[in-house]
């Protein structure tokens, strides 16, 4: 065994250049495949988490007809006992009541259709936690001008600030990330920048009659904290609903699509506005993690608990079938691309095998003639092929590890046109890599399969080898 490995290893380096080229092609294929897949899956996860965390939750308990007809008519009575029972289900982290509907909002001459989500301001902290999404800093024209006139920051720092004109941030970390100052500059100038960009904001009190408005919507309506807007719509069983609501705060939603059309208020305020006493439209259930398996199990467990059979649990992907299909489609086209890449690489490996076999026909003949069993020869050639694949595979995986780790924690933040384009499509312009998972190990399986496939040829040749013909060369 040891001897076979030694011979195989040395054989591998007989044609150093060819081995290096073949290994390099496997290396680049694996490296590219891992990185690309990691970015793809990472972006999906990011997007899904955005969606789940700030909008749908892992699961929602709803009236069975609400999915197709999201009307207040399909709301249900909110009871503490149902909620407590769901909280008792394994892997459930939080259960949060929502009353969701649509309405028109207007301010001055501007009107827009928006989504209203009514929440319990305290308990919502366990779920989407809108308080952390309140805009704290905003890079406005005035802020840039003030900063410039103050003369307290150097030109290059000012340029970076200008580069993010119009952006709003709900955390200092995100602001620092996007400004991308080096450590020294950050320490010295961030306090100065904060002075000019900090904006006042507020959250909802427990029985508040005010609202939170999403950032893009607020700028469309040209309203800020302290202003009021008018809401007009249809309430429970078709009654008309109207009201004036003071704006308590501006929140920045990660998903631009949602950021364009969201108003948050308290459940009592909404029940009053919509004339839907004691009703909610959904219970948002969040789980410890978002794997499909976990979500499916939780769904069936919750459905068993629900006594009223017109109320049912739905998963986030049942709630957003289009997003889910988009992700699936994109993922499949990514896999197809890798398939083509590996297909090309396979022929590289196969070419090497063809040359190797024809060059060594005579040598194989001599070995079998002097008394080496064909199986032993097959084992040596197989080992050679495995090594050939393994070199590229191992180095390809190793090379991708630091990149995946780095960009998982420090994701690429897209800027400029590309970022705008992605945001228009409803995607957050952040691209983290996915942590090591099956996609990583799958590369080994794929390379392994290619090697096995390419090895069939020399093994058949050896099996059919006629000593005297091989010896003739």
């Amino acid at each position: 065994m040891k001897e076979e490995f030694k011979i195989a290893w040395r054989n591998l380096w007989r044609n150093r250049r060819r081995t290096l080229i073949t290994s390099a092609s496997v290396f680049f294929a694996v490296f590219f495949a891992v990185i690309m897949r990691s970015y793809q899956l990472g972006s999906y996860d990011h997007m899904i988490n955005n969606f789940i965390e700030s909008f749908t939750g892992s699961l929602q308990v709803q009236h069975e007809k609400y999915q197709d007809n999201p009307l207040l008519d399909y709301s249900f009575d909110y009871t503490d006992s149902t909620e407590a029972a769901i909280l008792g289900v394994e892997d459930v982290v939080s259960v949060t009541p929502h009353l969701e509907s649509f309405t028109l909002v207007s301010s001055g001459t501007l009107t827009k259709g928006v989504a209203v989500i009514a929440i319990d301001p305290v308990r919502e902290k366990n779920f989407s936690d809108p308080e952390t999404k309140l805009v704290k800093y905003r890079i406005t024209e005035d802020a840039v001008k003030g900063l410039n006139d103050s003369g307290t920051v150097p030109e290059d720092v000012l340029e970076k600030v200008k580069g993010n004109l119009g952006r709003a941030y709900s955390s200092l970390a995100r602001l620092e990330l996007e400004l991308d100052l080096d450590n020294d500059d950050g320490e010295r100038f961030i306090p100065e920048i904060l002075k000019w960009t900090e904006v006042p904001n507020g959250y909802l009190a427990q029985d508040d009659d005010g609202i939170l408005v999403s950032d893009r919507l607020a700028s469309y309506l040209k309203v800020g904290v302290g202003d009021s807007v008018i809401l007009m719509g249809q309430g429970y069983h078709g009654v008309s609903a109207n009201g004036i609501f003071p704006v308590r705060g501006i929140i920045k939603m990660p998903s631009p699509d949602i950021d364009n059309k969201l108003i948050i208020m308290t459940i009592p305020a909404a029940q009053k506005f919509f004339d839907a006493e004691g009703k909610i439209t959904s219970l948002v259930v969040n789980l410890t993690d978002q794997s499909n398996r976990l979500i499916k199990t939780a769904k069936s467990r919750i459905n068993l608990l629900l006594k009223d059979k017109s109320i049912t649990a739905r998963t986030w992907y049942e709630l957003n079938p289009i997003l889910y299909q988009q992700i699936q489609g994109d993922s499949q086209s990514g896999v197809a691309m890798l398939g083509i890449l590996y297909f090309i690489i396979f022929f590289g490996i196969f070419g090497t095998v063809l040359m190797m076999v024809s060059e060594r026909k005579r040598e194989f003949g001599v070995l079998v003639a002097i008394g080496m069993q064909r199986n032993k020869l097959k084992r040596i050639v197989t080992t050679e092929m495995m090594l050939l694949g393994a070199i590229g595979l191992v180095f390809g995986l190793l090379a991708s590890v630091p990149l995946i780790m780095y960009f998982h924690y420090f994701p690429i933040i897209l800027k400029g046109d590309l970022a705008n384009m992605m945001e228009d499509w409803g995607w957050d312009a952040v691209m983290p890599t996915a942590w090591f998972g099956p996609y990583f190990y799958w590369q080994a399986v794929v390379v392994g399969l290619m090697v096995v496939l390419a090895t069939i040829y020399p093994l058949r040749k050896i099996g059919r080898l006629k000593e005297i013909e091989a010896l003739k060369g």
Binding site: M372, Q373, L471
Partner: protein, 230 residues
């Protein structure tokens, strides 16, 4: 003692349009410690005959018996093991595994015979010293001359302690000096180890060294003479 017996051996090639009777009714005996040369014009059937004797090819009819074993009774994998333990081979060229050193090449055949590491090393070093390559144990074939490579091949053929050594034109690619040198070594091993050698050649000087000369023509034995080497 007889090491090898051929009775009414025929080999007919049907593959081409014309039938070729490459070996024709050959009946021969070889005794232990013989030093036999097979000569004949090109195409007379020397290689075909040696391949049959070596169990690399099967006769169309007739029997080849080595140490009591009829070769045609063996299955393919049994034949390989039989060759490993009974026949030493020296081919015209490319005998050696290019990625192994002289020592490893000789050890290799002992490894196939599942000999212990100590036994392998001792025998390989001893034989390589006998063929005059004691100072080139760790050279790979690419770093050796053609003559040196053939000497390693002879050492390897001998290492497995076969009943006889077959060599089809072992000197065909060698210059005069290397040819003489190789023949001397083969003769010495024949003498010291009582090893049976059966080799073919075109070279008159090689023929002169043989103790027995078998002349083949059109696949048949034309003459079979014992001579005084000169």
């Amino acid at each position: 003692m007889k090491v090898l017996e051929l009775t009414h051996v025929n080999k007919i090639y049907n593959s081409t349009e014309v039938k070729v009777h490459a070996v024709n009714e050959v009946t021969l005996d070889f005794m232990e410690a013989e030093f036999t040369c097979i000569v004949g014009p090109s195409g007379s059937g020397k290689t075909t005959l040696l391949n049959l004797i070596g169990g690399l090819d099967m006769p169309t009819s007739g029997e080849i018996v080595i140490g009591g074993t009829n070769l045609s009774k063996l299955k393919s994998s049994q034949l390989i093991d039989f060759r490993l333990n009974n026949i030493g081979f020296v081919f015209q060229s490319y005998n050696l595994i290019p990625v192994l050193t002289s020592l490893e090449n000789v050890e290799f055949i002992l490894l196939l015979q599942k000999k212990t590491k100590a036994e392998r090393q001792q025998r390989a070093i001893e034989l390589l010293t006998q063929v005059g390559l004691g100072d080139k144990l760790h050279k790979r074939p690419g770093e050796l001359s053609g003559g040196e490579q053939q000497r390693v091949a002879v050492a390897r053929a001998l290492a497995s302690r076969p009943r006889f050594i077959l060599a089809d034109e072992p000197t065909a690619n060698l210059d005069t000096k290397s040819t003489e040198n190789l023949l001397e070594i083969m003769e010495k091993l024949n003498h010291e180890e009582s090893m049976t050698f059966i080799f073919s050649t075109h070279d008159a000087r090689v023929v002169n060294k043989a103790h027995r000369v078998i002349t083949i023509e059109d696949g048949g034995v034309k003459s079979d003479l014992v001579q005084q080497p000169h």
